[in-house]
Structure formats: C-alpha cells, structure tokens
C-alpha cells in the first residue's frame, strides 16, 4: 500500500511538473491540477497510512487512541482541496481572458 501511494504521488507530480513547463495554457491548468492531487495525497499520507482506522471518535465508551488515525491531515486535505480548486477556477478565468485579448493560448501572450 505504501508503495502504491508513493508511486501514485511520484507519477502525478512528475507529470504535473512536466506539464507546467509546457508553453500552452491548457497544459498548464492540467499540470497544476495534477500537482495539487499529488500534494493532497502527500498531505493525506503524512498522517501515516492505516487500514480500517476511523479518524472521528464515535463517542461510545472509553477511547483507545491507537484504534484511530490522526484526523488532522484529513482536515488539512479538505481545506487544501477547496483552496486549490478555487484558485484553479480563478486561474481558468484569467486564461480565457488572456486567450480572448491576445488571440493565442501561449503563456507569453504571443507565439514563438
């Protein structure tokens, strides 16, 4: 499981970095999205990987902390997802405006 998560993060961020370095704005957006997925998975895995361990206390009986997984990274991931989602949406608007004004989807606003 560790290997799968690590490989997923690696592949996602490698693809993301490659796409960000491309000159087209569409590739840029996809690259940023992939990178943010990689970062979200990374934050998630920083709470240690456990199977069948809930993050939220169920409130019945005495609490055995070892049966639960750290809830903080999961809360962080939620916030990070929302923020990167919002900023990407904002960025898309800017890209569309840039496309409309410059007539090209090159990141420099001109071909070549």
């Amino acid at each position: 499981m560790e290997l799968v998560i690590a490989a997923a993060i690696g592949v996602l961020s490698a693809s993301g970095v490659w796409l960000i370095l491309r000159p087209r704005t569409y590739q840029l957006v996809i690259g940023l999205a992939l990178l943010s997925y990689a970062v979200n998975l990374f934050i998630f895995s920083m709470g240690r990987l456990r199977v069948n361990a809930p993050p939220v206390l169920d409130g019945s009986g005495p609490v055995d902390v070892t049966a639960y997984i750290d809830p903080v990274p999961q809360a962080l991931v939620l916030t990070a997802i929302v923020i990167s989602f919002a900023t990407t949406a904002l960025f898309l608007v800017v890209l569309i405006v840039s496309r409309g004004i410059s007539g090209t989807d090159h990141v420099d606003g001109r071909e070549g």
């Binding site: 840029l28 990374f42 962080l76 900023t87 960025f91 800017v94 840039s98 004004i101 990141v107 606003g109």
Partner: protein, 538 residues
C-alpha cells in the same frame, strides 16, 4: 469588560466585515464603498496602533495571544500579536490608506469590486501577520493571494494580463510547495502550532529531525518565492510594473509578508543561536541585491525601476536577516518600514509621471477600450470632480526628490538612518564579532553602500529626463486626491525621522524578542483562557 486579547482578532474582522458589506451594493454605489473602505482602514490604523502600544508598553511576556474558540493553549488555533506582528499591522494599515485614497480618482472606476478585493487583501495580510498556526498562515496567504490576483489584473489590458498570468502561475506553484512543507513539518513535529513545533524541535532525534528540516526548507522556498529572492523572484517585476499605481503601492507590503514569515519561522528553530538556513538566506539576499541593482540601472521605465527597488529592499532585508544578529535585524526592520513606505509612495508618484508618457497611456487606452464607456466618463470626471492642483510639476518634483533620497539612503531621511543602523551593527566596535563572519559583514556593508550609489545614478538620470530635459513640455494634470496620499506618505517618512529614537528602541526590542524565541514560546504556550462573560451563563 473586554479583555485586551480580544483586540487581537479585530484587524482580521474589520476588513472582513467591511469587504463583505460592500458585496451587497453594486458598482453604482461607489461613494458608499469608498466611505466604508475609508472607515475600515481608519479603524485598522487605530486598532493596530493600540495593539502596538499595549504590546510594547504593557507587562505582557512577548505579546498578546488570542485563543480562537477559547480552547486551551496548545490545542487552540491561536492568533499572536507580538511586537513584530504589531509593527507589521501598523505598517500595513498606514500604507493602505494612501493607496485606497489614490485609487478613488481613477482606478476604482476601471473595473468591478476594487474596494472589496482591497479589503480582502488586508484580511489576508493582517491574518498572515497575526497567526501563530502554520496551516492558518497558509490559509491567510491564499486569501491574500486570491485578492491580489484580482487586483493585479484590475483595469485589464494585454500587458497586465501577461504579467498577471506569470504572477498567478508562480504563486500557485509556491502554494503547493507551501503545502508540502506544512505536511512534512506536521509529520515530523506532530503539530501545526509554531510555538509547539519550536518546542518539540529542541528534543527531536532520529528520523524526525531531518524530516523537519526538509519541511522547513520547503516552507522557506515558498516564502522566498513570495519575497522575490533571486532567482525565484523573476516574476515580480513584470507583474508589479504592469499593475495599477495604487495596487502596486499596496503590493509593496506583499513581498514583505514572505520576509516576515521567513524571519518568524527561521528564528523559531535556531541552531546554536543561528537562524535556520541563515547562510542560504544571506547568499540569496546578496544575489537579489546585486540583481536588483543591475535591474535598476537597466530599467527604461520608472515603474520597472520601482519593481526593482522592491527587490532591492527584499534583498537587503534577507541579507541582513541572514547575519542572525539581533542589532542587525533591528536596523533591517527600520529599513523595512522606511523602504516599504518609500516604494509605495514611489509607485504613486511614478503613476502620475508616466501617465502622460507613451507606454503608460497606451496601456490605459486599451483599458478604456475594453471597458467601453470608461473613456468619456473619466474625461468628464477629470474636469468636474477632481480639482487640478496648481504647481503640479513642483510638487511631483519635490516628492520624487525626497523619495529618491530615502531610496538611496541620503541623510536626513529615514533611508539613511536605516542603513546607518545596519552598518553600525555590522562594523561597529561594540558588535560581538565572531571572526568567521567577517567576510559576510564586509560583503553586506560594501553592497549596501554600492546599491545606494547605483540608485543615485539611476534616479538622477530619471529625474533629469523627466523634470529637467523633457522632449515634450511636461504638464501633468494631477488632482488633490492624488497628491494628498503622496504628501501623507512623505509626511510619514519625515515623522519617522523625527521619531527615530523611539522607533529604534521599539525595533531593537522587537529584534531582541525574535532572537530569544523562548519569550515567544512562553507567551504562546502559557496563554490563559479567557473567562466567560458574566452574561453568557444565566
């Protein structure tokens, strides 16, 4: 009875409420929005000053702590107003006022929601200065950046969008790096509270320690991108020089947020009294200083030069903080205050000068076209509303001259006092000098003076070209609302000279607190919960 700790949350709430209220009115209610904005910034100035006085004069440990939700100390997300945070709050509020007033003449009409975005920018800035929690720092950074994305594009135009596009991409990537850093620090230290991280770092061993250091290095990278360190700051000049004048003026404090966060975090996890990554910060600062000096010499337009002055101030600050010496830090903080105000005013002056010239007016023409009826409207407004100042050239010329003196570091203005304070701390007889740092001291001293000389050359050339030997007759049409902010900033700079003694005492105490991080830890981790109000439990 209101506890003084409640005052800490006010600098975040005031602009948040003001900005939200503005969303209820559409663009026709421009006067109302301006008034709201004005009231909010005045309230910010008074709360920030009150906080500064309480923290500086009061017997509190290192600062006031506000525990959000009144949870006990290490668990609660906390807001901490220590001396540094209070100084930054005051600086932000003082700079926001002229930028906002300046915008009312022309810029606020060139696009929707200018004042709302401006208020949210202040929310993010104040929050980033106050928070004592790493993840909240990220959230407030994002609030600030989201608002700044809107503001940098305010007014539209091809040039602005091209500069803004790079700005947004670089900062989005920086945010992702920021998140990676937070995750690594959390996994190593098991906490996001900065004070608790610092406490646990002292006793850390095994695999956790390198993990923490890698995490902190990632965070540092994100902050340095924001501070504009060479080579991470190449996005800054195109974006800032394309932004509208008042926006660029308030952005003068934006890059200082990166420097602030770096200073706070690096000094919380010191190694033998030396800040974390001090050598890297020093080298980066020196490189930035050199790069900015060359950039200033090479700039054709004054607005680009303004961007490079901002980089120069970042570079000086980073290099000085890299020395990890309390008195040098104090001098650098004084430099930060004076250079932020000066660069802000410089952007405003340049806006007025370059408006008449080709490059800037062509940008404006595109903007007017994009907004259709904007052109006629602003023409009329210029004639009706704005009272044209007499003696415009004289006022602009004197303003330019005084600002040049601050930026170069000529006496008697605060730029000189700041550089003098740094140089005294570096080379003075009573400095506790470890011989190993002699080379660093020498390099920084020489560069400080050389950068002043470079600024002198560039600004004299620009001044002669604009005011003494213009190709066409130079008769700017400027109004009272545009001149007053510049005069106000110049007044602040003069006041800073007159009050240099108390200001320096304050900043020395600030730097001393920073270099004794135990005080911060005591204040934050020992924070008392606020008792519930009498009426709350009947």
């Amino acid at each position: 009875m209101v506890q003084p700790a409640h005052l800490v949350v006010a600098p975040i709430l005031i602009p948040l409420v003001a900005g939200t209220l503005m969303l209820f009115f559409d663009e026709r209610e421009r006067r109302l929005k301006t008034a709201l904005s004005f009231v909010s910034i005045l309230a910010l100035i008074s709360t920030a000053t009150a906080l500064l006085l309480i923290v500086h004069r009061g017997g509190q440990a290192a600062g006031l702590v506000y525990l959000v939700g009144n949870w006990p100390a290490p668990i609660a997300i906390n807001l901490v107003a220590d001396r540094l945070a209070a100084v930054m709050l005051v600086l932000t509020a003082l700079l926001a006022l002229p930028a906002m007033i300046f915008s009312t003449q022309r810029w606020e009409k060139l696009g929707p929601h200018f004042h709302t975005l401006f208020q949210f920018l202040l929310v993010g800035l104040n929050g980033a200065f106050l928070t004592g929690d790493l993840f909240n720092l990220f959230v407030f950074f994002e609030v600030m950046l989201a608002a700044s994305y809107g503001l940098v594009l305010h007014g539209g135009g091809a040039l602005r969008i091209r500069g803004g596009l790079n700005y947004i991409v670089v900062n989005l990537v920086a945010s992702l790096i920021f998140l990676i850093g937070i995750a690594m620090v959390f996994s190593a230290a098991g906490s996001l509270n900065m004070a608790e991280i610092a406490l646990r770092a002292e006793t850390m061993h095994g695999f956790a320690e390198p993990a923490l250091h890698v995490g902190l290095a990632m965070l540092g990278l994100a902050f340095l991108i924001k501070a504009g360190m060479w080579p991470l700051g190449l996005w800054l000049v195109p974006a800032y020089s394309a932004a509208a004048g008042p926006v660029a003026a308030i952005f003068a404090i934006l890059s200082k947020v990166g420097v602030y966060a770096l200073l706070r975090l690096a000094l919380l996890v010191p190694n033998d009294g030396i800040a974390f990554g001090a050598l890297v910060i020093f080298i980066g600062g020196v490189a930035t200083l050199v790069f900015a000096s060359i950039g200033i010499l090479a700039s054709q337009s004054l607005k680009r030069a303004g961007g490079y002055f901002l980089l120069m101030s970042s570079g000086t600050l980073l290099a000085a903080f890299g020395m990890s010496q309390s008195t040098v830090t104090a001098g650098a903080l004084f430099y930060m205050v004076s250079s932020t105000l000066a660069v802000g005013a410089f952007f405003l002056v340049v806006e007025l000068i370059e408006r008449e010239q080709d490059a800037a007016s062509s940008v404006l023409a595109v903007t007017m076209e994009a907004y259709g009826d904007g052109e006629e409207e602003s023409e009329e407004d210029g004639a009706e509303v704005g009272r044209i100042m007499p003696g415009a050239v004289a006022i602009l010329g004197i303003g330019f001259c005084l600002l040049a003196m601050v930026l170069i570091g000529l006496p008697p203005l605060p730029g000189f006092i700041a550089k003098f304070a740094i140089l005294t701390a570096l080379l003075g007889p009573d400095a506790a000098v470890p011989a190993a740092t002699n080379f660093m001291r020498g390099t920084l001293a020489v560069l400080l003076i050389a950068s002043g000389l470079v600024s002198l050359v560039a600004l004299s050339r620009a001044g002669i070209r604009v005011f003494w030997a213009p190709v066409e007759p130079f008769l700017p049409r400027i109004t009272v609302t545009e001149t007053a902010p510049i005069l106000y900033l110049l007044g602040l700079l003069v006041a800073l000279v007159l009050a240099a003694g108390p200001a320096m005492t304050l900043l020395l105490a600030t730097a001393d607190d920073l270099h004794h991080q135990v005080r911060y830890l005591d204040a934050v981790l020992g924070a008392e919960r606020v008792p519930p109000f009498a009426g709350a439990h009947p």
